[in-house]
């Protein structure tokens, strides 16, 4: 009954096609448009129309000390936060991998930071961090320790922000690693036992190599997100004090919505895009090594 024409044979591709095209357009268009704008000079404050300037926006932004600082800050924030999250998360996963009472309740509590809205988290942490009326300085003063400026001092702002990120995202790494641990087979452990390996030896030479691909996957996911962190920083400091917590995303936001310099803002974003891409490719290469 059905004639095997081209359409009939390919119905399963044709029907989702409109939706697929639409989604592609929605994802690809903004990226391409940003790339296009990054080659132009387009400042709304001048009232002049968009002008093609090739790489001029990139050259201008490269000469801006704030940009170079932001690149460094984006890296130190990401590395600091993700390394701490990976170590803590793996430790927590190892603990949770044993059987003990209250394990499920603990897992549930661990999930809570993950589902909290970052902006709300930022506001609550700002209350904790407030140097005059905040909870943390109160605790420090009760303990007789010197008080800190937390997010209000340029020397402590970045670690304070990392702490929030660590609080929120360590559970994610813990859960991923825990899933990885659950999937490990028992045989290598048995042979390790037979060979008389100690607990530490078993961990470093059996467990760790076997879950390394999982940990690296978790690190990629986290690092890609951390490189792009925007909400917590914007809600808590807006990049301040001064520019001392300005990461690339915050800088791009300021260039677009406070300075209305859309050309240079786009060049910052394109730079960030390639940074994230290169980073992911790099970690993926390392991951391949462990899979062998």
């Amino acid at each position: 009954m059905i004639k095997s024409g081209f359409f009939e044979r390919n119905l399963k591709y044709l029907f989702p096609l409109p939706a697929l095209l639409f989604v592609l357009l929605l994802m690809v268009f903004p990226v391409l448009y940003t790339l296009f704008v990054s080659f132009t000079e387009w400042t709304l404050t001048s009232g002049r129309p968009m002008k093609f300037v090739a790489l001029d926006s990139y050259l201008k932004i490269m000469r801006e000390p704030r940009f170079l600082d932001a690149v460094g800050r984006t890296f130190s924030f990401t590395v600091g936060a993700v390394v701490a999250e990976a170590v803590l998360g793996t430790t927590i996963a190892l603990v949770l991998n044993r059987e003990f009472k209250g394990k499920n309740a603990l897992k549930f509590i661990l999930l809570l930071p993950l589902v909290a809205t970052p902006v709300a988290v930022g506001i609550v942490f700002n209350l904790f961090y407030d140097p005059t009326i905040g909870f943390l300085n109160y605790v420090l003063s009760v303990l007789g320790l010197p008080q800190s400026g937390w997010v209000t001092a340029s020397s402590t702002v970045l670690p304070s922000l990392m702490l929030v990120d660590i609080w929120q995202w360590t559970p994610m790494i813990a859960l991923i690693v825990l899933a990885g641990l659950a999937g490990l087979s028992n045989e290598p452990y048995e042979s390790a036992k037979v060979d008389g390996a100690s607990g530490a030896q078993t961990f470093f030479h059996v467990t760790l190599p076997m879950i390394m691909p999982t940990i690296l996957t978790a690190i990629i996911l986290r690092a890609v997100d951390a490189l792009k962190t925007y909400d917590i920083i914007y809600a808590m400091t807006g990049g301040g004090p001064g520019y001392s917590s300005e990461t690339l995303n915050i800088l791009a936001y300021k260039y677009s919505f406070e300075y209305f310099n859309l050309g240079q803002a786009s060049s910052i974003l394109v730079f960030l895009f390639f940074l994230v891409l290169l980073f992911s490719l790099g970690v993926m290469k390392i991951r391949k090594k462990f899979e062998l």
Binding site: F22, G47, P131, G149, F257
Partner: protein
């Protein structure tokens, strides 16, 4: 046949996705879209809009946004030519020039501006047309704790020397003697009056002059006061951080905009009785007594409005004399002259606000920031100088060079936007 059907189906499916936005059936009822700010006046309007709808038969779709988000939304919509906004609240000093330059405001040639101070209308004027109806005025005041002053046996300071002495005397027992915004760009507006009182300016005839000796002296004084007597972390504090510090009783004096009085004494948020909170004018400086008094909010109409008549009708209603009086009775300081003359208002409004407004209206200066299109970037640049001053308690030896560098950067912005010099 089947093939044709399938093709038709695909075509119609994909078409339906894109067609949605375009098909608007003609409606009998007029509709307008209004963007309001999260500001006491925006809140007041929201409660009154149903009355307007009943009177005029115009349906009003309104949205409320926080001020920077409002600017962001308007700019994005206008710049991409996709705007369906008809009427919106706008900040003349922050975005007026930018919006006028890009032709985003509709000229308000039929609006009657007779009831407004002329300099408040001039800010939103280009050529023969005015583009912004002034709504709210704001001037700098000093909030202070009457009880702490009484305990210390101090009088309210009337000049900067007394201000510093009072700040010193009141800084004790975990209470900071003096607070004002220290967070770079946000501090620019509050520092402005100090600069004027020292005889300086941000811009003089559209040239940046905040590196002049007078302005530098003011920046050093501001930095010394905040760095020495300010709350901890003041260099990253804006009004939203200072207010809770004042409300918890950890701050004795606080200079900021007049609009905050009602929030400061909101008894659900503070343990300090309203009777202990005083409102005084900013002490005078060695070379001046000119606190800023500015139009902080205005209302404008989009040049792209598809419904200009209904939009104008809404604008006239929202900025009417009656609405202004109603707002004044809620301690919202309005720009209309008649609202300040109203007897009910004068009887009910906080006397500190009435006195300080009269002083500012007579002596004040109508700008609290560099008035230019690239004001956002200019504020960040000036903010760097402010933070350096606060962090060094006003003693930094780098300050003159830093201010000169930033003034040059602001001049470069003015030049790039074709606004440098002249006027």
């Amino acid at each position: 046949m089947k093939r044709v059907l399938v093709m038709l189906l695909i075509a119609s499916l994909s078409f339906a996705l894109f067609a949605q936005g375009a098909s608007e059936a003609p409606k009998a009822q007029q509709e307008i879209r209004v963007l309001l700010a999260n500001h006491p006046y925006g809140e007041l309007l929201k409660t009154k809009i149903p009355e307007f709808e009943a009177q005029s038969g115009i349906k009003v779709n309104f949205e409320s946004l926080q001020e920077s988000q409002l600017t962001q939304k308007l700019t994005t919509e206008f710049a991409t030519g996709s705007s369906t906004v008809d009427v919106f609240m706008t900040r003349p000093l922050q975005e007026g020039l930018l919006f006028i330059k890009n032709g985003w405001y509709a000229p308000l040639d039929t609006y009657d501006f007779a009831d407004y101070p002329s300099n408040s209308v001039d800010i939103g004027r280009k050529g023969n047309s005015a583009f912004i109806v002034p709504l709210i005025t704001e001037w700098q005041v000093m909030y202070y704790r009457k009880d702490l002053f009484a305990q210390a046996g101090l009088k309210v300071p009337t000049n900067f020397t007394e201000l510093e002495a009072a700040a010193k005397a009141l800084t004790k027992d975990g209470v900071a003697g003096f607070g004002s915004r220290g967070k770079g760009a946000a501090a620019v507006t509050q520092l402005s009056s100090y600069i004027y009182n020292y005889g300086g300016l941000y811009l003089d005839k559209n040239v940046a002059v905040f590196d002049s000796p007078e302005a530098l002296e003011a920046i050093r004084f501001y930095g010394r006061l905040l760095g020495t007597y300010g709350p901890q972390g003041v260099a990253s504090m804006s009004w939203e951080n200072l207010m809770p510090v004042f409300q918890t009783g950890k701050l004795a004096m606080w200079t900021d905009a007049s609009v905050f009085y009602d929030q400061v004494v909101d008894q659900t948020k503070t343990a300090i009785p309203a009777a202990n909170v005083g409102v005084a004018q900013l002490p005078k400086g060695p070379k001046g007594d000119s606190p800023f008094i500015v139009v902080s909010w205005g209302m404008g109409m989009s040049s792209k409005s598809k419904n200009p008549d209904a939009a104008m009708q809404f604008l006239s209603w929202a900025t009417s004399k009656e609405m202004a009086v109603e707002a004044m009775l809620k301690n919202i300081p309005m720009a209309r002259n008649s609202a300040w003359a109203n007897a009910d208002v004068r009887a009910k409004m906080h006397p500190g606000l009435i006195e300080t407004q009269a002083h500012a209206a007579k002596n004040g200066y109508p700008y609290d920031r560099p008035f230019m299109s690239a004001v956002g970037q200019a504020r960040d640049l000036i903010g760097e100088v402010i933070i350096e001053s606060i962090n060094t308690k006003g003693t930094s030896t780098k300050l003159p060079a830093l201010a000169a560098e930033k003034a040059k950067a602001v001049n470069d912005l003015l030049k790039a936007d074709g606004e440098y010099g002249g006027n």
